[in-house]
């Protein structure tokens, strides 16, 4: 596609990484369901294994269908490349495991998806990686939490489910002063709402299960490198030997010498995918690509419906609080206006005036909303975080994450907004009656 213009987001969502198949002329991306790829010769085989030439060897490491997805998401995020993996959790683990080992330290936001909080608080601690949690808006706390062995800052673009907006420019600036990168989970926003690299983030990941795929059909994750972080810069010198020193496990390669802007991705693929093995099926990659083709259209509708539902809920006397940054009452309202002008996402929470039983009645009365543990589907979803997604967290951790026992989380889908509001009206009425 030669030309003078710089393709826009919608064009990239359809075309980045893909061209008509040269072998068959197929216009849609082919699904390469094969474990491995025939070598042209022994010399070519050796060259592929030694990273001398581009190409695919074994689908745990790379695959042509996955490569299209990886280029497309990198294009939409404004990154240098990405790696598709088995889930969002696998993406977070791959990012962490590529950069550090036992004895390292992470500074992370308290406002995280329960699974991420679990991985950092319990599981990584078992492997010698400690995490200090700080409230995302407490800028001094980010700075104060830095230790000599800190290797990473981590937060979500908007916290799940309270939607505290991460001040990426400020937090990334503190991270860079400390000589460490900022990793951002942008699952709830997708690149249509925010491109974190433009604001200073260094690494971004998605649970592609959510908005990227968009149809609630597959589990997948993807981690994107912005290519901007200086792994052996003056402030980070000595911190990232995994990237800046010869790696015995792969031809004594020094990844920062091999690629000035893609060292993280090289190590993550050559070590992380090879050894941990959390790869994505090409069929999953294809389904996520199908979703991404309509991402701009879907996100626009998600946001339009969300605005209507938030306005409705905010006007209901039986609703104690609606936690969406589009409302002036939300603590992140001003920051959201600045960083997320298209909206702060369609996953948000609200609190009923009633007790736990009334909350239960509310959820069970809903007909259009589905009660399940997912977000970012084209269908509208509902869940009670304290007893499900965040159930392992203590009351204090829940409170820090902006979750109470009465909090209900919605993920607004693509249905007619009037039908969603009717469904919510019926459920609110039933819940109110249950308390009478």
């Amino acid at each position: 596609m030669p030309g003078y213009s710089d393709p826009g987001f919608d064009t990239l969502a359809l075309h980045a990484g893909a061209a008509p198949d040269p072998a068959t002329g197929a216009r849609a991306v082919p699904i390469h369901l094969t474990t491995s790829f025939v070598f042209e010769s022994s010399d070519q085989a050796a060259s592929l294994f030694n990273l001398e030439r581009p190409g695919h060897v074994y689908s745990r490491i790379s695959n042509p269908t996955n490569a299209v997805l990886e280029q497309r998401v990198a294009a939409l995020e404004g990154g240098v490349g990405s790696i598709a993996v088995a889930s969002g959790q696998a993406a977070l683990h791959l990012a962490v495991a590529t950069l550090m080992g036992a004895g390292s330290h992470i500074v992370a936001s308290t406002a995280l998806y329960g699974g991420s909080q679990n991985l950092l608080h319990y599981t990584l601690a078992r492997f010698g990686i400690e995490t200090t949690f700080v409230k995302p808006g407490d800028i001094d706390a980010w700075r104060a939490a830095v230790r000599p062995n800190t290797k990473l800052f981590f937060g979500e673009t908007v916290g799940n489910p309270g939607l505290e907006v991460l001040d990426i420019p400020t937090v990334s600036s503190i991270a860079h002063e400390a000589g460490v990168p900022l990793l951002v989970d942008s699952t709830l926003t997708s690149p249509w709402l925010i491109q974190p690299f433009e604001h200073g983030a260094d690494l971004v990941y998605h649970s592609a299960t959510k908005f990227l795929s968009g149809h609630g059909t597959v589990i997948g994750g993807i981690v994107v490198d912005g290519g901007s972080f200086d792994w052996d810069g003056p402030r980070s010198q000595g911190k990232f030997a995994e990237l800046t020193q010869p790696y015995d496990g792969f031809h004594n390669m020094v990844f920062t010498e091999e690629s000035t802007v893609g060292a993280f991705l090289l190590r993550a693929r050559r070590e992380g995918l090879r050894d941990f093995g959390a790869c994505m099926s090409p069929h999953t990659a294809w389904l996520i690509l199908q979703g991404i083709e309509t991402l701009p259209l879907r996100m626009e509708r998600h946001m339009r419906n969300t605005e209507k539902v938030v306005e409705f809920l905010a006007a209901q006397p039986f609703v104690a609080r609606v936690g969406h940054p589009m409302l002036e009452s939300h603590p992140s309202h001003a920051l959201a206006q600045k960083l997320l002008p298209r909206g702060a996402g369609s996953v948000f929470s609200f609190d009923l005036q009633g007790n736990r039983e009334q909350g239960k009645k509310f959820i069970e009365t809903l007909k259009v909303f589905s009660h399940l543990a997912n977000v970012g589907d084209c269908r509208s979803l509902v869940i009670h975080p304290a007893s499900t997604t965040h159930f392992r967290m203590s009351d204090e951790a829940l409170s820090n994450a902006g979750i109470s026992q009465g909090t209900i989380r919605l993920s607004i889908g693509l249905e007619d907004a009037d039908d969603l509001i009717d469904d919510l009206k019926r459920a609110l009425k039933a819940a109110e009656k249950a308390g009478a």
């Binding site: 596609m1 075309h15 280029q71 294009a75 031809h251 004594n252």
Partner: protein
């Protein structure tokens, strides 16, 4: 590895192999706002197939100290100093874009010390529009975007799993630009390309076979802008090979294997 040249540490990527004086040497020279890593999918292969590879970061660029070349002639003098510093009698020179002019001028200065000359994405004269030169100085981010858009011929480059060439080009340009706080490398490189006026004489002085590897859809150094130099080389009786790659100005990443095999076959012939 780093080599002291003119009192400054100069970085050369050697493709994962130590320098071996017994092997033939090939020097890879990058273009404006690039570094050694643009040759990743050619240089590592050559290093593992019988060649000493010296993929340089030009002085003042990224990992290299020293003053960035302000002209093609200064760049060529640096290449000569590099060969002297390592005691290399004879070497093949491979240059891309601005680097192709440096390789041409170095081949002219070094005469029989150059065994092969490979000009990838070349043009002569290599005129840069005044608007782009001005943007490189005053609005480098805008100019970088323009250059990357003009350099691209496809939204689906086969550059290796997961890498997005356009984003990598933007990130590399920013990193190289920020690597030198004293000199605007973007502006200096473009001015050096634009002002080089010794191409005809240089080609006449070249004493080795010459390969032109051009991008058929190249909008930065269009193939027609290389035809004068090609004709001049042929008229002067050089052994000339011209290969057209079906890509734009990102020959090394949009056609990594085609660029590699073209260079490899020429050097090994």
């Amino acid at each position: 590895m780093h080599i002291p040249i003119n009192g400054a540490p100069i970085y050369c990527y050697t493709g994962g192999k130590a320098f071996d004086a017994a092997k033939p040497t090939v020097v890879f020279i990058h273009g404006v706002l690039n570094d050694h890593s643009v040759w990743a999918l050619q240089s590592r292969y050559m290093a593992h197939h019988g060649w000493n590879v010296l993929a340089v970061d030009l002085p003042g660029h990224c990992r290299s100290g020293g003053d960035a070349p302000a002209s093609v002639e200064q760049g060529a003098a640096f290449v000569a100093a590099l060969l002297d510093a390592l005691g290399i009698e004879r070497a093949a020179l491979v240059g891309h874009s601005w680097g192709s002019l440096i390789a041409l001028e170095a081949a002219a200065q070094l005469g029989p010390r150059v065994s092969h000359l490979v000009l990838v994405g070349t043009a002569y004269p290599m005129k840069v529009s005044p608007a782009l030169i001005e943007s490189a100085l005053n609005a480098p981010e805008k100019a970088l975007r323009m250059v990357n858009v003009f350099s691209r011929s496809t939204l689906a480059p086969p550059s290796g799993a997961g890498f997005w060439v356009f984003g990598a080009g933007m990130a590399l340009g920013r990193k190289v630009l920020h690597s030198n706080r004293e000199v605007n490398l973007f502006h200096r490189g473009f001015v050096a390309c634009d002002s080089y006026a010794h191409g005809e004489q240089a080609m006449a002085q070249v004493q080795c076979p010459v390969l032109f590897a051009l991008g058929a859809q190249d909008q930065m150094t269009a193939p027609k802008a290389a035809q004068g130099l090609i004709a001049m080389a042929r008229t002067a009786g050089k052994t000339v090979q011209v290969v057209s790659l079906p890509v734009g100005h990102n020959q090394m990443t949009e056609a990594p294997d085609g660029t590699l095999t073209t260079i490899r076959d020429f050097l090994n012939a």
